[in-house]
Subunit: 339 residues, 2 copies
DNA sequence: TTGAAAGCGCTAACAC
DNA sequence: GTGTTAGCGCTTTCAA
């Protein structure tokens, strides 16, 4: 009980070799006679040796760890993160890439100013070899802070103006255009939009893309209400839109959750979807398929994007890649029932 | 650029003192003359020194880090975690306790057998000073593995039989009884239940408590359908119940999400809630208040429980507390609109 | 292929 | 109050 954990030294003694040899075996370096390898491994098992990560990091300057950081500047952070399938998809995309290389993924949350400070401090003191950052808000200073700290960093979404940081992103404008064109092509002439929160990184692009495409068809004014990326806010937004514009015949929501809320509200009010009002969502999350009616939506390949993000970071850590790059993914329209 | 990061040594030289003195200043140990403190701090700022966490851990045998582990043995792990507000509440409860003591919280996910192995290995190599574990499934071996590894661990929910592990829990039986008594007291005589997944840690207790309380009133048979803790599964369960038992007048769901789904389905079918069928949920999550009708539910003080869990671990790490303890919280019935 | 030895950057006795 | 010194457990030249 009071015993200290066995060290390399103990293994070496037990196996009758030098520490260097044990180290070689543990790290899978070649040039160790098979028989010695065996006896070292036996000794390790016998005394239950585990390498001390701190000692190892001290000399290798590596932790074998990558941080996945969820960061927000606004309020109700955890409520947002743990009720939006989006973040689960990011995690799903990142994990396999990291696990495959035996890199330990650690999730870090920066839910406040103070937390952001602690987090940066933690990382620059060697808490992880690199960071994958998913900012929930447009103005998040965290990416800049990490870049300044010299930590290899890849972002989900475009970095702030002037920031030279690796990132993956979706062509959000193009996605919104797809939605607009589909609605137009199916005869909708009085479309409205439920936009993202002003502070959301994608808010501007998705709304602009939608408006631009419609403008090209001569639709100059589109009613817009902002939601907060939740089902409930989608319902409320829909209620407002319907009250102010009872004749609208289509709604583009900036994510599936809000689209789902809009559908719910419409049907409760006896408005047929897609008969009277067509609804298009964004993301193609599980919510899109679960919703009734099933959502027509713009697919964002979140898992693939997240995997690309992780791959890019890992390659940078490997030295396989030197320059930070940008990878922009193309959206695809998925037509189901709601439009 | 190619420069190595500044070390204690560099600061010492810059400030014209010894490494020990710099160390004292950095660690806030008293017995350092104020003027020297100042000059050391200046030197630190000037050369941008950050302590190396690995070196520090090597000698202190501390990382200043606590792991919050979400672990599951079943499928679709991330989908569950990132769409159920429950986990957000756990995080909300844990964070402030840790932040206050400048302990870095790291979220670790164990979504597979392999991941569990890597995770245990990571922790026993000194990845964190202790672990707060939230098992999603009853049979999760992770707590035992961590105990075996000698890592200070506190669980959310009762440990497996025979396992001597600190934990916090809700008196789930009592909670279910509250629901049953309320329904009975308000004249419901044909109650049904939407139970938790068989594999959920709380499944048995909540169902048993509900049944026992009703049995005491002479209700010997209660229709039960199992859901999966999601809104959607609640809808489907409700559909089954209603089809098989069209005369039921009350439903107890094992969490709010399923209760919400049940309400949705009932209302869509033109069944009045609570007029014809009363619905009681469990947890008192945000979903309970957001749902229409607002949910009558059994409150589980998740944030407080999570905070208690963190506090218990922190005290053990401090040495303030030596014995692992159990803290069981009492549920409260919150009567709103649905029953 | 193996071993000896020199650190990695820091803390904590212990001496002054 | 401050400095000296001996490690913490590991990797990695460099010789043998």
């Amino acid at each position: 009980m009071g015993n200290r954990a066995p060290t390399l030294e103990d293994v070496a003694r037990e196996a009758g070799v030098s520490r260097a040899t044990v180290s070689r075996v543990v790290n899978g370096v070649r040039n160790v006679a098979p028989e010695i390898q065996r006896s070292v491994r036996d000794a390790i098992d016998r005394i239950g040796y585990r390498p001390n990560q701190a000692a190892r990091s001290l000399v290798t300057r590596r932790t074998g760890t990558v941080a996945l950081v969820l960061s927000a500047t606004g309020r109700s952070f955890t409520a947002r993160v743990f009720s939006d399938p989006f973040f689960g998809r990011v995690v799903d995309g990142v994990l396999p890439v990291l696990r495959r290389r035996e890199i330990q993924p650690v999730l870090l949350v920066a839910e406040s100013e103070q937390a952001r400070g602690q987090l940066v401090e933690y990382l620059r003191q060697g808490g992880a070899d690199g960071a994958l950052v998913v900012p929930l808000d447009e103005d998040d200073p965290l990416p800049s802070m990490l870049m300044a700290a010299g930590l290899p960093t890849v972002l989900f979404g475009r970095p702030r103006e002037g920031e030279r940081c690796a990132y993956v992103d979706l062509d959000n404008r193009a996605g919104a255009r797809l939605a607009a064109e589909h609605l137009w092509a199916t005869g909708r002439r009085r479309p409205a939009a439920i936009a993202a929160p002003v502070t959301a990184p994608t808010a501007g692009e998705r709304l602009d893309g939608f408006r631009d495409a419609l403008a090209a068809h001569g639709v100059t004014s589109v009613p817009v209400v902002r939601g907060r990326y939740t089902v409930d806010s989608g319902r409320r937004a829909m209620a407002r839109l319907l009250k102010d514009h009872p004749d609208l015949d289509a709604v583009f929501a900036a994510n599936d959750l809000m689209a789902q809320g809009a559908c719910q509200y419409l049907r409760e009010q006896g408005v047929s979807v897609p008969g009277t009002v067509a609804v298009v969502g964004f993301d193609d999350s599980v919510a899109a398929r679960k919703a009734r009616p099933q959502l027509t939506t713009v697919r964002q390949p979140v898992e693939r994007m997240a995997a690309a993000m992780a791959t890019q970071l890992v390659e940078r850590l490997d030295g396989t890649r030197s320059e930070p790059a940008a990878e922009v993914f193309a959206p695809v329209l998925v037509v189901r029932e709601s439009a």
